[in-house]
């Protein structure tokens, strides 16, 4: 196990290097550079002014020098400063991470509370009316574009749920109760789709487990249905839940642009979006690198959790 973890950690290095090169080149291929965005459309600077500004923003050197310079500093924990705000990139990112992490935590919890019981119920009553209804609701939850659902929710709330905070985020450190009032709607808007995904996975994995020989044997031996289900089926149904939760936790830390835009949450997604729009190279690079790292580490964690939950899986 220890060796496996070590091996996986080593494999991180090429992935992170690859991502760093891709993001570095990609953002520079995008037409329009930071100096132009800085100057805007209402002014025309002279050639010397442009050169001066390029030097100021540190984008006057050859590409490979810029890259090596950047990656060298990153290895020493220095992600550079945002070209637009002149604040350290790492500070900007760390200020946003808690918001995205909170949304991730809340909507995953919401989805688990809703999706797992629904999935189990649906599987146990396979092909019943309950099954059909919960599956259709589940799929509908999956098929609504999230910005549309979010807009409908905020519009509805603006008439009938005015006790909540609409598009007026308050950080968790400022006031927990106000923070929760602001997070309820985004949690629902994002969690509904997630609950639908979970429900489907749980349903099919419970079905799979129920069909397996040992359960049938147990049932044949006369063990009461409930015991069997709780002892065996649920435990095994956990595996896909961990997978889904792991993948989404990774994505969510990177922020959900759509939800953040509609509910005006200051999360990672908007930070990344505006960083790209303003060609803030160090910020874009820093975000992508850190989000990638988080994503890969969470995936590793998921793989380790598998072993703990499902003794059949072994990594050698």
């Amino acid at each position: 196990m220890r060796q496996y973890i070590l091996k996986r950690l080593l494999q991180l290095i090429p992935v992170l290097l690859g991502v760093s090169i891709v993001v570095f080149l990609l953002i520079r291929l995008v037409p329009g550079d930071v100096v132009q965005m800085y100057v805007g459309t209402q002014v025309s600077p002279t050639a010397e002014q442009m050169e001066e500004l390029k030097r100021l923003f540190g984008i006057d050197k050859p590409l490979y020098v810029q890259y090596l310079d950047w990656i060298w500093r990153v290895m020493h924990g220095d992600f550079g400063v945002s070209l637009r705000t002149a604040r350290p990139v790492l500070n900007d990112i760390l200020a946003r991470l808690p918001v995205s992490a909170e949304l991730a935590f809340l909507s995953l919890t919401f989805a688990l509370l809703l999706g797992v019981p629904a999935g189990i119920l649906s599987a146990l009553r396979r092909n019943s009316v309950t099954d059909a209804i919960s599956r259709i609701i589940g799929i509908i939850g999956l098929s609504i574009p999230d910005f549309w659902l979010a807009t409908l929710i905020i519009l509805f709330a603006s008439r009938y749920l005015t006790v909540l905070r609409l598009a007026s985020f308050v950080s968790i450190t400022a006031s927990l109760s106000e923070n929760l009032k602001a997070m309820v709607l985004p949690t629902i808007a994002f969690g509904l789709g997630l609950a639908a995904v979970l429900m489907r996975y749980v349903r099919s994995s419970v079905l799979e487990v129920l069909g397996q020989d040992y359960i049938r044997t147990a049932r044949a031996k006369g063990l009461a249905g409930r015991t069997v289900i709780f002892k065996h089926a649920l435990r095994n149904a956990l595996t896909p839940v961990i997978t889904v939760v792991g993948i989404y936790a990774g994505y969510l830390l990177g922020g959900t642009v759509v939800i953040e835009e509609v509910f005006a949450l200051p999360g990672m997604g908007r930070l990344a979006l505006y960083a790209i729009y303003q060609r803030d190279y160090p910020l874009v690079q820093g975000i992508v690198l850190l989000v990638t790292l988080a994503f890969v580490l969470i995936n590793l964690l998921v793989d380790i959790l598998y072993v703990l939950v499902d003794p059949r899986i072994r990594y050698d």
């Binding site: 991502v19 995008v30 509908i140 549309w148 079905l207 069909g211 835009e261 790209i276 990638t292």
Partner: protein, 274 residues
């Protein structure tokens, strides 16, 4: 096939898909108007016999736009799924069959794609290559490549060491032949399921791109950009949002039901339980 037909949910899904597919295919002959024609005196008109689904903020007929918009949504989502299927399956087959360093390199590349924030990738692709339906296909397709690669690789690994493959290999069959003749048929069912689910995700993804102004290019209608434009009028003219919203939901529902049905029917592990 008989089993699939017996599964009433997947039949429903198939029927929904067929209806929408036919509707967009026949758009030129059944659409009442040119989808880009603006009627200046008739902005945001509610549904009437003149405009069965009303008009949008430019005075364009929503019914016609919905029919033509279906073309973009169908073409983009099917093509991008094909892109993902093609590249993903090829990668998965190579990685799974050859193993070793081929496997390591290919799967690390997949990891890079998987870990890279998808929306940022889409924005960059659009900004670098320009905004066109082809590039939307690319931007969406790339995102789903790793899923297909992982799925295929897993299945190949499961099949590779089975006795019959060992047997044909012993008989001197060459790798490409083994892959095509013996491995692909075995993984086809799970790929089919994945395809139907990916198409439905791609329909949604196109609408998310439209929300950010990166979807199909106006004035060409797509369900995504129709829905995105309707945000401005959601209260004043709900019909502008209901039509494309319902269309997206129904088609996604259709593909999901079909995918579920396919899974129940094709996946041998799930066959005939309890």
């Amino acid at each position: 096939m008989r089993k699939l037909l017996k599964n009433y949910l997947s039949v429903t899904g198939l029927i929904i898909i067929m209806i929408f597919f036919l509707a967009q295919a026949l758009a030129p002959s059944i659409a009442p108007y040119d989808p880009t024609m603006m009627e200046p005196g008739n902005l945001l008109a509610p549904p009437t016999s003149h405009n069965p689904l009303g008009t949008d903020g430019y005075g364009r007929d929503i019914m016609s736009r919905l029919l033509y918009g279906g073309r973009v949504s169908f073409v983009v989502s099917i093509l991008s799924t094909l892109v993902a299927l093609l590249f993903g399956t090829a990668t998965g087959l190579l990685a799974g069959f050859f193993g070793g360093w081929v496997d390591t390199v290919l799967m690390r590349i997949m990891d890079i794609i998987l870990a890279f924030p998808a929306l940022l990738l889409a924005i960059c692709i659009m900004a670098v290559l320009g905004q066109s339906n082809l590039n939307i296909v690319l931007a969406i397709g790339v995102v789903y490549i790793p899923q297909f690669a992982r799925l295929t690789r897993g299945s190949v690994l499961a099949v590779r060491d089975l006795e019959f493959v060992e047997a044909v290999r012993a008989l001197g069959a060459r790798s490409p032949r083994i892959i095509v003749r013996h491995i692909v048929p075995n993984i086809l069912p799970s790929l089919l399921v994945q395809v139907s689910l990916t198409i439905s995700l791609a329909v949604l993804y196109e609408s998310a791109l439209s929300f950010l102004g990166l979807g199909a290019q106006p004035p060409t209608p797509s369900w995504g950009n129709m829905l995105s434009e309707s945000r401005r009028y959601m209260e004043l003219a709900p019909w502008t949002a209901v039509a494309p919203g319902a269309a997206i939901m129904l088609v996604v529902l259709g593909f999901n039901l079909l995918g579920d049905g396919l899974r129940d029917v094709l996946d041998p592990r799930l066959r005939g339980r309890i």
